[in-house]
């Protein structure tokens, strides 16, 4: 059994707007083992970014963490004071964001922005912090770092800025790096470079990483464990191999079916029908029920809990419970779909 560095239990974060409460995160649980990478996947609006921001307690003014626990090395971060949190942020847990173009302050130089965090958390002098900043830029593969340090963000390309963001996040040797869609805003070639860089750095520095993405390709490449989020909840949590070989939740299966695969021939890529529910009008039962081909009355009536299956992975679906009485055969994955379309029903691998 691996050491768990960070464990989130039943996290709930809501935003309070003029139109009422919006439950952006509503029952999220997962664990991040030491030195591993956890992926959080989901569509936009599924609450994955809010989950990440909740870990650092960086929710906007109208939002509030209303329940759950975030255990980091045995302590619940939710009980921490603002001051204690500030010592965690950018130090033990740091974060990089989706938009490198706007995430750096335009009126400060790269050096000022990196050394600021070093000065705060490590009590180094300005001079020493700048020296360390140059090393960090070198570490993230920025050429001629002693020149770059004096430049302003507008003088750098998007990929360079994301490297600066990473250098900034690594400034105080964090134990956990939260990467919120770090490559979404970048060109495809740069995306691969940045992902590789994060992976290399993780190996070298022994960090744990939370990789937030909507891209299952990124998950397959970088993650050890995966939490799949839908409408503010974790619907499935397992190791990455199991997730791709034996996805369980109908939503995950839907996502997999919408991916192109190179091992099997698919005539037509499937898409999940319907839309993500409006957070103000959440269904009472399972949130995926309106779009789920196997949904029964039970699904529409009662919300399933995140339960352990036989292999010890978590899934939030009635199909895997004793209460289930419906037909689950309509949920198909990969080869079975092809088999059906050919008129036979025998080739399902598992």
């Amino acid at each position: 059994m691996e050491t768990v560095l960070l464990e989130v239990r039943d996290l709930r974060t809501s935003f309070f707007t003029d139109d009422g409460e919006v439950k952006a995160v509503d029952g999220v649980s997962f664990a991040l083992p030491l030195g591993k990478t956890l992926g959080i996947v989901g569509e936009s609006g599924s609450g994955k970014s809010i989950t990440a921001l909740s870990i650092l307690k960086l929710i906007a003014d109208n939002g509030k963490i209303i329940g759950g626990e975030i255990h980091y090395k045995g302590n619940d971060l939710l009980t921490y004071s603002d001051k204690q949190m500030r010592d965690i942020r950018g130090n033990a847990i740091s974060m990089i964001f989706q938009e490198p173009m706007t995430s750096l302050n335009p009126v400060f130089t790269v050096g000022q922005q990196i050394s600021e965090s070093i000065m705060k958390h490590q009590n180094l002098s300005k001079k020493a912090a700048l020296v360390k900043s140059v090393e960090l830029l070198k570490l993230v593969g920025i050429p001629s770092p002693d020149k770059r340090i004096k430049q302003y963000p507008y003088e750098l390309s998007g990929g360079m800025r994301q490297r600066v963001m990473i250098a900034m996040a690594l400034a105080c040797n964090p134990e956990i790096l939260i990467a919120d869609e770090p490559t979404t805003a970048l060109d495809v070639t740069i995306q691969a470079q940045i992902l590789r860089l994060i992976r290399e750095l993780q190996m070298r520095l022994g960090m744990s990483v939370i990789m937030i993405t909507h891209d299952l390709g990124v998950v397959a490449e970088t993650c050890d464990y995966v939490a799949v989020m839908y409408a503010g909840q974790v619907v499935e949590y397992s190791d990455v191999v199991t997730l791709f070989q034996k996805p369980k939740h109908p939503y995950t299966i839907g996502l997999m079916n919408s991916l192109p695969r190179h091992d099997v021939e698919v005539e037509k890529l499937e898409s999940i029908k319907g839309n993500v529910p409006n957070p103000k009008e959440m269904p009472t039962g399972c949130r995926f029920a309106p779009r789920c081909p196997a949904a029964t009355d039970l699904c529409r009536r009662e919300m399933p809990a995140l339960m352990k299956d036989v292999e010890g992975n978590d899934v939030r679906c009635w199909i895997y419970s004793e209460k289930w009485e419906g037909e689950s055969e309509v949920i198909v994955y990969g080869e079975k779909r092809i088999a059906e379309s050919r008129g036979t029903e025998t080739i399902l691998s598992d």
């Binding site: 950018g90 938009e99 009126v107």
Partner: protein, 313 residues
């Protein structure tokens, strides 16, 4: 940057020319015979003719304009019809009074406006924000001449630590700095309201930016986030207003000077309008506008200096 300054300098030339043409043609927009109007009713035909001669009103307009401009460039704005003294001398005697008044009013407006705007933004939607914004709305909606009268009513007649403005008919500031207090407050309050509103809006916009979240994610304290990361960005658009405010104060000084019996350029203008001394009106309007154009030029350049880091992408 040098290119920008040169381009911006060149741009002011047509504006200054336009201003001078407009100011010059004021004389021609006067319904009726300007010489007759300046001479006043019941003036003898000789006097009228004299004025006409003196101002060169007999020549064709373009010739007159060129002559006028030739003199302006040499620092000669003509002579007052009433006192016969050079307009330049009349203005020189009062120029610094008005500039000083506007300058101090600008400082007050920036100081008050920034503090109020920052407090409002940092505590937005609290009672302090709402009260500041209500006060600012009033400041924006108050005619400053009325506010000045009210201030005189409240302070100058009451407490004796302020000079009595009703009895004061001094020229210039004299040696009592306290004479500045009420006029500067009168003039600066409206500007403070505008700057407070701008600062608040600008701060709120900046606080919503991604890089503020980054600063928080680095573990920076709220004070560092607000006063270092946010304020520096939020102030950039506010700077442009400061120049406009200073110019507005130069124009607004017309009213303030008239209330507080300050012998500045504004009062000179009003008196000249009343006595139909058009060379003086032309002179003051021209000088104030030129000064305003110049201040805006400086503001533009400093804005550019601060903003080049943002604009170029």
């Amino acid at each position: 940057m040098t290119k920008f300054v040169i381009r911006r300098l060149l741009q002011t030339i047509p504006v200054l020319l336009g201003v001078s043409i407009l100011v010059f043609s004021l004389m021609y927009l006067i319904p009726g015979d300007p010489a007759q109007i300046m001479a006043g009713e019941g003036a003898s035909p000789q006097t009228v003719e004299q004025i006409r001669e003196k101002l060169g009103l007999n020549e064709p307009a373009p010739v007159q304009y060129l002559k006028y401009m030739k003199n302006v460039v040499q620092g000669d704005l003509g002579n007052s019809v009433r006192s016969n003294r050079p307009v330049m001398d009349e203005i020189k005697a009062r120029f610094w009074t008005t500039v000083q008044l506007s300058f101090y009013a600008t400082i007050l407006a920036v100081f008050l406006g920034l503090i109020a705007g920052i407090i409002s933004a940092v505590r937005h939607y609290t009672w302090s924000d709402i009260s500041i914004m209500i006060v600012a709305l009033f400041g924006l909606s108050m005619p400053n001449f009325w506010f000045g009268l009210m201030l005189i009513q409240w302070f100058a007649i009451g407490p004796d630590w302020l000079p009595d403005f009703l009895k004061m008919r001094a020229s210039g500031w004299g040696d009592d700095w306290r004479q500045l207090i009420l006029p500067v407050i009168t003039l600066g309050t409206g500007g403070a309201a505008i700057i407070a509103r701008m600062t608040r809006a600008s701060m709120l916009e900046v606080i919503g930016q991604d890089y503020i979240r980054t600063a928080r994610a680095k573990g920076m304290g709220e004070r560092v986030v607000v006063y270092r990361h946010a304020l520096k960005n939020a102030l950039i658009p506010v700077i442009t207003v400061v120049g406009l405010e200073f110019g507005g104060f130069l124009g607004g000084a017309v009213l303030t000077e008239s209330i507080f019996a300050i012998n500045g350029m504004g009062r000179l203008t009003i008196d000249a309008i009343r006595t139909r001394d058009f060379p003086i009106v032309q002179g003051t309007v021209l000088i104030i506008s030129f000064l305003f154009v110049f201040v805006n030029l400086l503001v533009d350049i400093s804005y550019r200096l601060l903003n080049k880091r943002i604009d170029l992408n």
